[in-house]
Amino acid sequence: MNDLTGPTPAGATAYVHPAPTGDVHAVSVSIDGVRHELSVESRESLWETLVYRLGHGGANLGCDRAQCGICNVVIDGRSVNSCAVLTARLSGKSITTVTGLSSGPKVSDLHPLQRAFWEEGAFQCGICTKGFLMTSHALLERNPDPTDDEILAALSGVLCRCGEQARIVLAVKRAALEMRTGAVVAPEGSLPHTSETSLMPHTSEVIGARIPRIHGMGSVTDEGQYLSLMTLPGMVFVRMLRSPYPRARIVSVDTRAAEQVPGVVAVVHHFNMPEPYASTVIEGPPYRYLLGRDLVQVGMPVAVVAAESEHIADDALALIEVEYEVLEPTLDYLNTATAPPQWDNHLPGTIRNVIPPVVVGEPDQALEHADVLIENVTTTPYEQHVPLELRTGLYFWEGDNLVTYQTTHRTFDARRELARWLNLELDQVRLIQTGFMGSSYGSADHLIEEVVLPAVLSKITGRPVRSTLTREESFLTSAHRGRTWTKVKMGVNRDGVIQGVAVDVVYDGGTNAGTPASAAASPGLSGVGVRGGWYVFQILYSYLSQKYEGIEVWTNSLRAGPMRGVGRMFGLFALETSMEKAAYGIGMDPLAFRLRNLNETGAVFDEISGTQPGLPFGRVGGQRASLERAAELIEWADLWRPPRGREVRPGVFRGLGIVSTLDRGGGRQGGAPSDAPPPPSTAQVLLHPDGTLEVLSGSTEVGSGQRTLMAMIAAQVTGITLDRVVINPGVDTGINTDTGPTNSSLQTNVSGWAVLEASELLKSALVDHAARAMTDLGFDPAHEALDVRDGWVFVTDRDEVRCSVDDVVANLSEPLHAESDRRRKLTEESVAVGAHAVEVEVDTATGGIEIVRYVAVHDVGKALNRMALDQQVEGGIVMGIGGALHEELIVDEVTGILVNPNILDYKVPSLYEVPLFIVDLVEIPQDYGPFGAVAIGQASTPPVAPVLANALYNAVGVWVTDLPLSRNRVLDALGGRA
């Protein structure tokens, strides 16, 4: 049910959706066994009725277009998209949502499906879970013993962007078995638990185990506070009119008709935007203002309407008349030097930045004299994260202070930005992230108008505001992986030694102009996009000479920003396809060629500043071990043949590919200047007299299990059992302390350390406190020490002399308390390495690439939560497969309008596209990570495209170096050869 547990407007009661007007229909339906007599407007969808009218939390929303399935409910026994049916047509129907699936609040009340999803790790962010649960429920009611194929077919209409497809099928099978046999089947490797409210085990020995999500109950029931389900009492909705032109100037705006629409509360646009908001520069140059007059991309807001419902706001938007002066845009990112300048630019056209080149050795000479010279041009398209939750914000003001709920992975950074753009002091903004959100994968970076304008409308109207982006708006406005063009020249001698490499990059930052105050966190301006690609080259392999050049350009298309590794994607694609071509060029086995040229020393220049030398490379051995292990698992030695060497059926060939991968997380954030301090890492822990250990951490949960991990670290270090550790799912800047954003794979190393340190302090306080009681039991403080494990304080080497933590703390008058505030050292960067290998089958007739087996090996230092780690790797690969084979956002070259801003045409991977995975780990602990761990969140996506491109070449002997490797490109490349 959608009552927020956080702050709400003072004195208010529950939200009431406006009474229907116009074409009103009376409907009688049963929802989760309760009969409702409703009065609704014809245009109201079942989802709107459930969430807005009934305050029901049983269905999430991802597209509102029957394309994603996360809104699924069961109607008369069949799974249906609740966004796609009109409530007015449902009289007499019986509807079941996830609310009707469980019988109560306890673990034992859950439906076998709910429990299996939670226990098997069949979700990360959980935004898709209700849809999968209901669809599986409909399936099992009809077919109690489905085959794998039947499960796939039945669930094929629901998407999971976190990539948990394989586990979902597993969970459905397990639940089916349980329902048929009545027995509860414990998943492999799970620890027993006794708690009635969670699946957390009754032990403190949890590091390295498979631990399901601590707050998973919220994802498998209607309890998780996903913002798209949340309302505020008295709220109005905002919607935006958006520019249809990539570059234009607003001449006039006429809102008279729009203001007349009953239910419209305010209409704001350039000409009536109040100060100080009107003159706040958000970024630039070219300067971007809130509701500014100059429009630089399709989809930029022109006017904002606040109204009693989204439909009413849309009615008003349709009546706003705008006159534009249309200007010539820059759309072709490969020809920006000659484009008309759009700001006072010291560089030609709309080139933003010429990154200072890096030269090591004598690259030109080396290339000239090498035995073989290869040239490789690669391109990568615009891609988007497509987080499945429609991005939602809730806003209200308490006097001059703003309270807001956001779907963000950077709670504290988002507050800073909001404060700046609203001209407020930091402590005037309280920002809450509830801990439940459709994972953003980085897309929630760059809060622009979408996030600020609703706050302004709330201020102007004096009403709480809800803003939810449509799927199309989300495609238009959130950060994208920028388009790139890369040319690599590599000179190799026949002995396999790379003589030199020269890399030239064009990185399309789109309309990302960067913040004017500092270049931080703005890959469009600071060179991080380009250098992120260079870094891949210099870290993975060694070359006698190296040269790196690149420019970043501005185009009136989409905003570029971070997406699972800034610059890694194109960098690794360019590098690893070049390595493959070079190996073939000298007739050497591609695996042997890679092993021959590994970089096992260090970075020759710093990724972020470009200065030399860079940091020492702490991963010696990991990369070699990963490559060797991946080769073994894919059976490289037995199966590898030269191109077109394995025809398995007429016209169908198999091929192998293998590549290295890396990512860096930890010390600094992607866009931070080299002298910027590392993000803070803070945490507090409290041991209450009732024996519960409370962890306070500002580490934002985005689905990958950050909160679970913090609780696990606290349990392991303090010795208190995990089922007695509590941690709030959400982060509230009014309560928690800043501990950096959940991006750049850095939370394990940042917040993890802080929790670890605070827990160590707490443990010594606990041991001190226990000493007296233990002395009574025979403990000799002069010669013996105490330790804590599994909820017992015991004498080291004499663990029969022990006392339970509960007893030790029972008489405390106030909780034991410890905290950590730690600045990480820059050298505490963590570079994660690994190797991916694949076997593909390519049909030369259809251009189809089928993945036969996929192997991922990562050196993770130490696996902290094996379940979350496997999920991260698998999820990253699934996203990588989507990007490698199908996904690209297409901007029309003539008009600049996006042609495929929807889930169907953008082609997000479905349940069918998940290959047979083999995930294996190399664990070489690193002392800069907690327990030796290295963050790997972003290392598993970039290798997918190059490994598939290489395997495609190995199979059929043609290169496709423009991503994605879609059917049309493969067939074009095969051309006459098929």
Binding site: E41, A66, A84, G157, D315, G847, D892, T895, P901, S966
Partner: protein
Amino acid sequence: MKRFILRQPADLGDALGILHEQGLNARPLAGGTDIVVGVMRDQLVGKGMPYPGELVDLTTVPSLAGVRVDDGGCAIGATTTLVDIVEHADLARFWPMLVEAAAAVATPEIRSIATLGGNIHQRPRCWFFRNKDFDCIKKGGEVCYAVKGDNRYNAIVGGHLCYIVHPSDLAVALLALGANARVASKDAERVVAFDDYFVSPRENLQAETVLRPDEILTEVRVPYASPGTFHAFEKFNDKGLPTWDFAQVSVAVAAHVVDGVWQSGRIVLGGVAPVPYRATVVEEALDGKDIDGALVEACAAFRTVTRPMSHNDYKVDLAVVVLERAIRKALERPSTPTGES
């Protein structure tokens, strides 16, 4: 989304009466997965395509739903859902290709509310058409954006001013099965063979069928297979998945074959033309020939009728392959039972 009035007539006469009075201002509503969730929510309007002021719910007219099998074949009501087609035992037995095509449509969720009539009459998926900011010729504007834009999914045959491909999987199968449409308006009823049902942009830029604004499809009649007929439906989408996405190329084959020799038949392609495209050039090339020997060349003959656009040459290659596969698949199966069996 914008307002509209939902009319829920209890019988066919009322429904047709509203359409008669209102013309294009009222549109038939079946499952609503396209007209409501697609066309209206995405605000696809233009001079030739007004936003409907009223939707006439056909699912409240009981006589329009259901499957009847009799001596002459089957009659499927226009509002029969795709899932009811997929799960119908008699249809699976006598018209397996129709069931195959229905099962290949979209997602299970959509199939449980989408209808036969709605699938046949769904509007095109050309991505310029589907974006409100492109006021293209089909909507009544001046320009076809597919000509200069990314036309990888557009037509390779039969385009003219507008280059859509017909999106319906069922339409392709129905044409190959020699099915008929029963069409009603307030005062009249007519039967139109699907051969003559779909119109190309040359004939009408704004509509895809012969239906007048006041007419609806009430029923589809499919005859039994004649003895010795082999059927198959083969669909290829971008990802090569069984469902979820529209066809890049689909092929429905009904082949009357004796001793491996093509006697007669119908070969229909989806995803290649503004209408389900009957490949008579391939049929003729097979006529009277031993299929094994003639197949490759006969399918390649399809190339001669194509006129690909700037980004969709690959679809020609693909079409030839899917043609071969569909015909082979048909012949690998037992012949379809006739009404007598």
